[in-house]
């Protein structure tokens, strides 16, 4: 460890012997360490509470809270902080006790300054290494979890698309057969057919069920369709305004007001406008469905140099905690049968992934939901 790195070390010195402590404080400070000091265990803990330290040099024998006690407190609250024990002359017993309680090491008084500095450096290095290991492990766990989720969604999507494809053919047959029957019923020769209305009603049901199934299969196929993205310079605010026209009527029917706003430094970004439009339609439609009469929906664009954020918030019923994990899965829907396919957010998320963006949800039951889509301003042209 290079000498100049010493000034990264935040050190706390706890010892009740004033002369000894002051001397150490000055010498350590001269070597560049960020040193604080306390004359008691209690005082030391208070300082740690104000700002944590990397390494604590701790005297064992103190009135009040003694070294071992203080050590236990420190380790309980700041497990990452390394503690070096200072014990009285030839009382190794205290030192061993300290190590057992989680201290990094111990030194017996009288101590040699360079020796103590060496120990502090080692303790700091251990702390840094541990930190890196922890971050690496957390990062790995996060990536693994993401990969599992992505793979699961991808394989579900592929399977669902395969099923949708296979179902489309028989669906087409049912569709034509029902259509044929309804044409026949309109013929003059069948005008006097008994129970004609019953037939018409049943055929109508078949046709509308086919339509419903078709919406599902087409959406599913759409989710895996390898559509060539068409990139263009897009003003997100304008695109949003234009898109809101498409859902305007549905919102007006429920007397829902839609507001639009923007923040940051909005500038045109390079992206596929069709896909962004699809995202917006899906999110706003969901918001309209979730929001009661006279509710409010806000569509907000926030731009910074690297990325642009679309936020769709509503004053709707919110998403219960137990559903948060499931809302992006295909076929998950809390809408009544026939009204939601459970594919809107699934498709939305796939589009967002394709665009190299991320999607976040914040929701409180009874208060509302906010969906946040963060898109990079320069698209990485991901192939799928």
């Amino acid at each position: 460890m290079a000498e100049e790195d010493l000034n990264h070390i935040r050190l706390l010195l706890i010892d009740d012997e004033d002369n000894f402590r002051q001397t150490l404080f000055k010498r350590l400070g001269k070597r560049g360490l960020q040193v604080r000091q306390a004359d008691s265990g209690e005082g030391g803990l208070a300082l740690l509470k104000a700002e944590p330290a990397d390494v604590v040099v701790l005297d064992v024998k103190m009135p009040g809270l003694d070294g071992i006690e203080a050590l236990r407190w420190i380790k309980a609250q700041w497990p990452q902080t390394e503690v070096i024990f200072l014990t009285g002359h030839s009382t190794t017993q205290d030192g061993v006790e300290g190590i057992k309680s989680g201290a990094f090491d111990y030194l017996s008084k009288p101590i040699e300054f360079e020796h103590l500095l060496e120990k502090i450096k080692h303790a700091y290095q251990k702390k840094t290494r541990d930190e890196e290991r922890r971050q690496e492990a957390a990062y790995k766990a996060r990536i693994e979890q993401q990969m599992i989720a992505t793979e699961r969604l991808a394989s579900m999507g592929t399977l669902a698309a395969g099923v949708a494809h296979e179902i489309n053919n028989p669906l087409a047959i049912i569709n034509e057969a029902a259509g044929y029957l309804s044409l026949l019923l309109k013929k003059e020769e069948l005008a006097a057919m008994p129970r004609r209305q019953d037939f018409e009603k049943a055929i109508e049901k078949i046709s509308s069920a086919v339509k419903r199934a078709r919406v599902i299969t087409h959406q599913l196929l759409g989710s895996v369709r390898k559509q060539e993205p068409v990139f263009a310079e897009v003003d997100l605010y304008e695109l949003a305004a234009e898109t809101l026209q498409l859902v305007h009527k549905e919102a007006a029917n429920k007397e829902i007001r839609i507001y639009q706003s923007q923040g940051g430094n909005p500038a045109p970004i390079w992206i596929d406008p069709n896909q962004v439009r699809q995202i917006l339609i899906n999110l706003v439609t969901n918001a309209i469905h979730a929001t009661g009469k006279e509710g409010k929906i806000e569509v907000r664009i926030e731009a910074d140099p690297e990325s642009s954020t679309l936020i769709v918030s509503d004053t709707g019923k919110g998403i219960p905690k137990e559903n948060m994990e499931k809302i992006f899965e295909p076929f998950f829907s809390d809408k009544p049968p026939g009204e939601g396919t459970g594919l809107g957010l699934f498709v939305t998320r796939q589009i967002v992934d394709k665009l190299g963006g991320t999607i976040e949800v914040q929701s409180r039951v009874g208060v509302g939901t906010s969906m946040k889509v963060i898109l990079p301003n320069r698209n990485p042209l991901k192939s799928t």
């Binding site: 494809h165 489309n168 053919n169 087409a172 047959i173 259509g179 026949l184 196929l221 369709r225 060539e228």
Partner: protein, 146 residues
């Protein structure tokens, strides 16, 4: 108004689908023939004239796109509407670049189908009309030269 029937050839390996769509379109007043693969389609086109071919993209053997290419070489005036049962709209769009009139996703909405059939037929008859007029002009000019 008396409806002039459109002569339609339906090509799909799903027999039940072909049968039901045929019956429905016949009932709607069109003239229908069916084929169940690409070879059968070409054969039928050789035998008699059609206005529009409704062609499934995914078929065993010669698929819809290959059949389309062949139709456009051998019978360039016949209009083709592609049918796709799966997510390959790219293929359908590619088909349109090769000369197909339009495409439909299965199961197709009957009104959509009727609109597209009507459009395809109109396009074909307009083209034929232009050819007739051009031929007439040709005859006139020749006549004038004599």
């Amino acid at each position: 108004m008396i409806k002039v029937p459109t002569r339609i050839l339906i090509v799909d390996d799903e027999h039940d689908f072909v049968e039901m769509l045929s019956m429905r379109l016949k009932e709607a007043g069109e003239v229908i023939e069916a084929a169940y693969d690409g070879e059968g389609c070409i054969q039928k086109l050789r035998q008699e004239g059609f206005d529009v071919v409704i062609l499934d993209i995914k078929m065993p053997g010669m698929d819809g796109i290959q059949t389309l290419r062949k139709i456009k070489i051998m019978f360039p005036l016949v209009e083709v509407i592609l049918l796709t049962g799966h997510g390959t709209t790219e293929t359908a769009v590619e088909g349109m670049k090769l000369g197909a009139f339009d495409y439909l996703l299965k199961p197709a909405d009957f009104e959509d189908l009727e609109t597209k059939l009507e459009g395809a037929r109109r396009k074909k008859s307009e083209q034929e009309e232009r050819i007739r007029q051009a031929e007439a002009r040709l005859l006139l000019r020749k006549g004038g030269n004599i």
